[in-house]
Amino acid sequence: MGTKSKYLHIIVVAAFGLSAAPDSSRRNITATKNSSVAKSASGAQADRPGEGVVSGTVRVAGPPVATARVDMAADPACFKMHSGPVMSEEVVTGANGALKNVIVYISDGLGNRSFDAPKEAAVFEQKGCAYSPRVLGMQSRQTLQLINNDPTSHNIHALPHNNREWNIFQPPGSSPTEETFAREEIIPVKCNVHPWMAGYIGVFKHPYFAITGKDGTFDLKNVPPGDYTIEAWHEKYGVLTQRVTLETDQTKTLEFVFKPQGVR
């Protein structure tokens, strides 16, 4: 066989071979000599030696955003449940612009590793004619429990692009319904009976996600060493991305600052 045709064969076979091969992990996990454990500024620490923590805060720049009132007059049962005015939770900020309800998660860098779904169910509740929590994080194939403890009926309508879309009715006093999602996605959820209700369920293949509280902080614990892309998602302000490289036992701190339109 001539040299030229031999190389041609190799190229063709290699092209097929590479296109079919799974992504190989680019990391080498080296064993640690010491058993020290990474600690983050907020005190979160990785449970296992060698694994690190990615922590930080999420803020929104600019002056405080005025929130609108939610009008629940359409359903008297909802209206009666609240003694004072109900404010929209689309943007909830704390001190220094700390932003609540941001999902911070690893979007890339874990390769093809698979993670078992936790046995306990993730709980999504309809309370006071609002979703509680407004933003929920869970793993794919984990059980999602949908609860209605309100004295009025709700329908819970998930609107995914990459998963099954379902729409289930829950009258008051009904027992919880269970559902699950197969694929990663951040899924908006709404109630057609009460149009002001909005919620979001972030479904991930892995357990490295966190939802910020009013102080805007997050901790991704027990992250193996490697190169990662971390994303921060907010329902109104969109997505911010940062890359981070984690060595063994390391803690990295990131800050995400959302800049609404018009703010420099």
């Binding site: 359903d75 729409n167 009976v193 009460h194």
Partner: protein
């Protein structure tokens, strides 16, 4: 080795052929409706002739006509179908798709395809299934069974009325079922287009069949892609029949009487009924 004695081009073709054949074979879907087996390859020719103008060559509902019509043509790639006999969020059965093609969707631009033969419609169903990967990954679950209907009487209608209030049907459908409830203006379908709730005053414009059995089934399956949820977890079968009886009292058009309880319905969910189609549905636009 004999392979090495071939000239370079045939050798490469041989190698490529072997490698290509080792990849996953693309499944051409089949459909099974009653005794019919539909074949997607034949369905493709029919789709190109009859369906592509609205549903698009990629089956995503973006055909040439799509911008001008409302409601929009179904996006088959998403795998979400409105008129099914399976629980909310699940795939339709082949027979559900067959009935949708046959019946058409009243008050929309989807006509009744009764003019095609049974085999042609079965072939179209098989081809439509090819567009969404869900049909490869999931099997449609068992269809919801509609139990026999009890007689409608004053008590049943009264209970149905109470259920209509309690289940918040009025918040979308309105106090008298005219589709003018407080939430009605806010309703959108899964593509973001406004979708009005059904106006029960007419009694004839149900898109997924208009017998009492069809109404029962809609309450159990919900209408995927729309705000209408499934009540499978919230209503017993007796309650569902009460609600159906109440809903019939809302219609003003008394000339259209649904079949009485106990009468055999030809478009019920049994496969054996495929051979007969209700002829009054033809030419209805």
């Amino acid at each position: 080795m004999k392979l090495l004695r071939l000239r370079i081009v045939p050798r490469l073709v041989l190698v490529l052929g072997v490698l290509l054949s080792l990849r996953q074979p693309a499944h051409a879907q089949e459909s099974h409706i009653g005794g019919l087996t539909g074949d997607a390859r034949r369905g493709k020719q029919l789709y190109r002739r009859y369906c592509v103008g609205c549903h698009g060559p990629l089956g995503d509902g973006r055909g040439e006509n799509a911008p001008w019509i409302d409601p929009k043509p179904r996006n088959f790639v998403a795998g979400t179908f409105k008129c099914r006999s399976t629980p909310s969020g699940d795939l339709p059965s082949d027979e559900d798709l067959f009935k949708s093609v046959t019946r058409g969707f009243i008050n929309s631009n989807m006509p009744s395809w009764l003019t095609l033969t049974y085999q042609q419609r079965a072939d179209l169903v098989a081809y439509v299934k090819n567009f969404s990967p869900r049909f490869l990954e999931e099997k449609p679950p068992a269809s919801v069974q509609v139990p026999s209907e009890p007689a409608s009487n004053q008590q049943s209608i009264q209970r149905g009325n109470e259920l209509y209030q309690k289940m918040n049907c009025w918040s979308c459908h309105g106090k008298e079922g005219r589709g003018d409830g407080p939430s009605a203006q806010t309703l959108v379908d899964n593509r973001g287009y406004p979708v009005p709730p059904y106006d029960f005053g007419t009694g004839t414009r149900f898109k997924c069949g208009d017998s009492n059995q069809d109404l029962y089934r809609i309450l159990m399956t919900g209408l995927d892609g729309t705000p209408m949820p499934s009540f499978a977890n919230s209503l017993t079968s007796a309650q569902t029949w009460d609600l159906v009886h109440y809903l019939r009292t809302l219609q003003l058009n008394l000339k259209h009487k649904p079949p009485k309880a106990g009468e055999e319905r030809r478009d019920s969910s049994e496969s054996k009924a495929v051979g007969e189609e209700p002829e009054r549905r033809a030419n209805r636009f």
